[in-house]
């Protein structure tokens, strides 16, 4: 026990004396959450718009002001003729253009329908899609308000369940937490074991009466503690800065986070049994863990829209299951009865990694 404590103490000293490690451990989580939370959002506000109003009457003015007051559009330019539309697009000053025909009001009065033209800059297809759908939504409500349309046969009243305002930050907080935990747990542990091999202290540790289990647990435990602190920091940022909801049980959330940390740590130790230098350990963790985690976990790209082969592949990414668990607990407030399958998968993966580590850990050198 005394030996074990000495080992843990030494490990913490390594961590706290290395500025680079500290920066990765504590600087990165905060920066990433804030970055993902603020900078990368899929919502669009203030889409720049140009209007070519050929009608120029009260009705068309009302229509335009209805659009601009929605908050989604900013009226950037009032155009005078068609040829100006393309110029504005090419200059890049606008993302969408609206053409109101000369007989806008008359047509509405006579036929109860008028056609307006919407031209969008599809060099950013996502944005073009969203802006046009916003615009058609606004147009519909304008028509209803002005009783131009007596009755719409099917009216869709949608409600965004579990994330009423459709905020993307609710997706990013669990995602960033997953990545950080993976990074800290898997990459950092694999690097620290590889470091001992590199500087030659591993030789002495192996020759000493230390049991392999003590070496491994001693290496892992400090990072477990630090990962928990990290998870806590990220969650706090999520709650305080971004107003993440917390619908489910906190204890369950804590246990699931702990489980995922154990999965990542066991993966890190497994990598370290193979990697001989810090550099290989880092490359293996980055290439083998970080990239698949970011790309295939459903954090940024929805798994449902991936090609079939990638969908199948995503099943072996522990992060995918963890993100499902976290979102279910935090946003939907469900209990273990709903996420038992994902939990079981993570537990199984951890056990597999630990078993492989025990088999692969060498009490000797190559």
């Amino acid at each position: 026990m005394r030996t074990f404590l000495a080992f843990i103490k030494k490990e913490f000293k390594h961590i706290f004396r290395d500025k680079r490690t500290l920066l990765i451990l504590f600087g990165m989580p905060i920066v990433q959450v804030l970055l993902f939370g603020f900078a990368i959002t899929t919502e669009i506000k203030d889409g720049k718009m140009a209007v070519l109003d050929l009608a120029k009457n009260r009705m068309s003015q009302q229509y335009i002001s209805k659009i601009t007051s929605s908050g989604y559009f900013i009226l950037e330019e009032n155009l005078k003729n068609y040829s100006q539309i393309e110029k504005s697009f090419k200059r890049g000053t606008i993302k969408i253009a609206l053409v109101i025909p000369e007989k806008f009001a008359e047509n509405l009065g006579n036929n109860n329908s008028s056609i307006v033209q919407v031209i969008a800059d599809a060099s950013d297809p996502n944005m073009a899609n969203m802006l046009t759908s916003y615009l058609s939504g606004i147009s519909n409500s304008f028509a209803i308000e002005n009783r131009l349309v007596p009755k719409i046969p099917i009216k869709i009243e949608s409600k965004m369940l579990y994330n009423t305002e459709n905020k993307s930050v609710f997706m990013f907080v669990p995602g960033v937490m997953t990545i950080i935990l993976m990074l800290v747990s898997a990459m950092m542990t694999s690097i620290t074991v590889a470091r001992e091999k590199e500087i030659g202290t591993m030789e002495i540790l192996l020759v000493s009466p230390l049991k392999p289990a003590i070496i491994i647990i001693g290496k892992v435990l400090p990072y477990l503690v630090l990962s928990l602190i990290n998870a806590f920091t990220i969650l706090m940022l999520g709650f305080l800065v971004f107003g993440m909801p917390m619908e489910g049980s906190r204890i369950l959330l804590f246990l699931e986070i702990l489980l995922f940390i154990v999965t990542s740590l066991s993966l890190g130790i497994l990598i370290s049994t193979i990697a001989q230098t810090q550099q290989t350990a880092m490359m293996m963790s980055l290439m083998g863990l970080m990239l698949p985690t970011i790309l295939l976990s459903g954090f940024i790209f929805p798994i449902e829209s991936m090609p079939r082969i990638l969908q199948i592949l995503s099943n072996v990414i522990p992060a995918k299951w963890f993100i499902i668990i976290i979102k279910s607990i935090m946003l939907k407030g469900v209990g273990i009865r709903v996420v038992w399958k994902e939990t079981l998968i993570l537990t199984g993966t951890s056990l597999l990694f630990i078993l492989m580590t025990i088999k692969k850990f060498k009490i000797r050198m190559e």
């Binding site: 005394r2 030996t3 000495a6 080992f7 030494k10 000293k13 390594h14 004396r17 290395d18 500087i199 030659g200 202290t201 030789e203 002495i204 540790l205 192996l206 020759v207 000493s208 009466p209 230390l210 009490i363 000797r364 050198m365």
Partner: protein
């Protein structure tokens, strides 16, 4: 104390050790002498239970290095070829850590490391990375001794250390041997250090060329040895190597060590050197270990 029987070890295609047998008695200071790549480190790793030989057996204190490795690990001290210390920990922290790893304390075994530790004490708060080479080496020795090992393995401990520190280090080893009766196996590429051992084994390309006391090793030299100093040693060496009747010619610091074939006379040699307008002195000297080593290597 240490018995090595017919040990061979290969890495993929390279044969690191080739059928090596050695006996090292208790309380000896045993030197393993050979150039880089001779197989010294591999032998150390087999003896310290870190490697399993392909063939042959090794026993330490009658314990087998493969089957009884756990018992052996408690009773040996090992200083690997590089200074394996935690560079971000201080002198004190390194010592304390290794003491605890071996389930002991610095105090309980202070007698053994006292002489070395007093030299380190002024720097005990300093990080290991900021120590000089000699200091690092002393600290590594302290760490290897902290648990009173019965056998000490030092793999090139003086490599890259200044001459003064090297001498101090060997004084320490001698003293440990005398007062604590530790069996020490030390490897070195420096021949002058070989003379300080009780017994040396010359090792080359995974084979042992000779095992004997340093004095006896020198006596194995079979030729008459000459030392030549000239005004241009390099040119002279090139010339000598081309001459007839020369058995061997090697550069040794600021002189050339030379042996002649039986037919050749020293006077003949002098005439030839004068004819090539060299200024030189030539004298008969006693061979040392290095000369013997060179000769043995040439025979191989």
């Amino acid at each position: 104390m240490i018995e090595i029987k017919n040990i061979s070890k290969s890495y993929k295609e390279v044969k690191a050790l080739d059928n090596i047998s050695l006996n090292i008695e208790e309380g000896r200071l045993f030197g393993l002498i050979g150039p880089d790549g001779a197989g010294k480190t591999t032998l150390f790793r087999i003896l310290t239970t870190l490697l399993i030989p392909n063939r042959g057996t090794a026993t330490l204190m009658n314990l087998d290095t493969v089957t009884d490795y756990k018992k052996i690990r408690r009773q040996i001290g090992y200083m690997p070829g590089r200074f394996s210390l935690y560079t971000d920990l201080s002198v004190q922290e390194n010592l304390e850590f290794f003491a605890k790893v071996f389930n002991t304390t610095i105090e309980s075994n202070f007698e053994m490391i006292r002489d070395i530790y007093v030299l380190l004490e002024p720097f005990k708060k300093r990080k290991a990375r900021d120590l000089s080479g000699g200091m690092k080496q002393k600290l590594a020795l302290c760490c290897a001794l902290i648990h009173k090992p019965k056998i000490l393995f030092l793999d090139e401990p003086t490599f890259g250390v200044d001459p003064v520190s090297r001498k101090e280090f060997w004084d320490n080893l001698k003293k440990l041997q005398k007062t604590d009766n530790i069996t020490t196996v030390v490897s070195t590429p420096y021949m002058d250090e070989a003379a300080l051992c009780n017994e040396v084994a010359l090792i080359q390309k995974g084979k042992i060329l000779a095992v004997d006391t340093p004095g006896n090793i020198s006596k194995r030299f079979t030729h008459k040895l000459f030392e030549i100093k000239t005004n241009n040693n390099y040119k002279a060496l090139l010339l000598l190597r081309k001459m007839d009747g020369i058995n061997s010619a090697f550069m040794f610091g600021n002189s050339i060590h030379l042996t002649l074939n039986n037919s050749k006379k020293v006077t003949q040699l002098s005439t030839e050197l004068t004819a090539n307008s060299f200024k030189f002195s030539i004298k008969n000297i006693e061979p040392n270990i290095e000369d013997t080593f060179m000769e043995l290597m040439q025979k191989e």
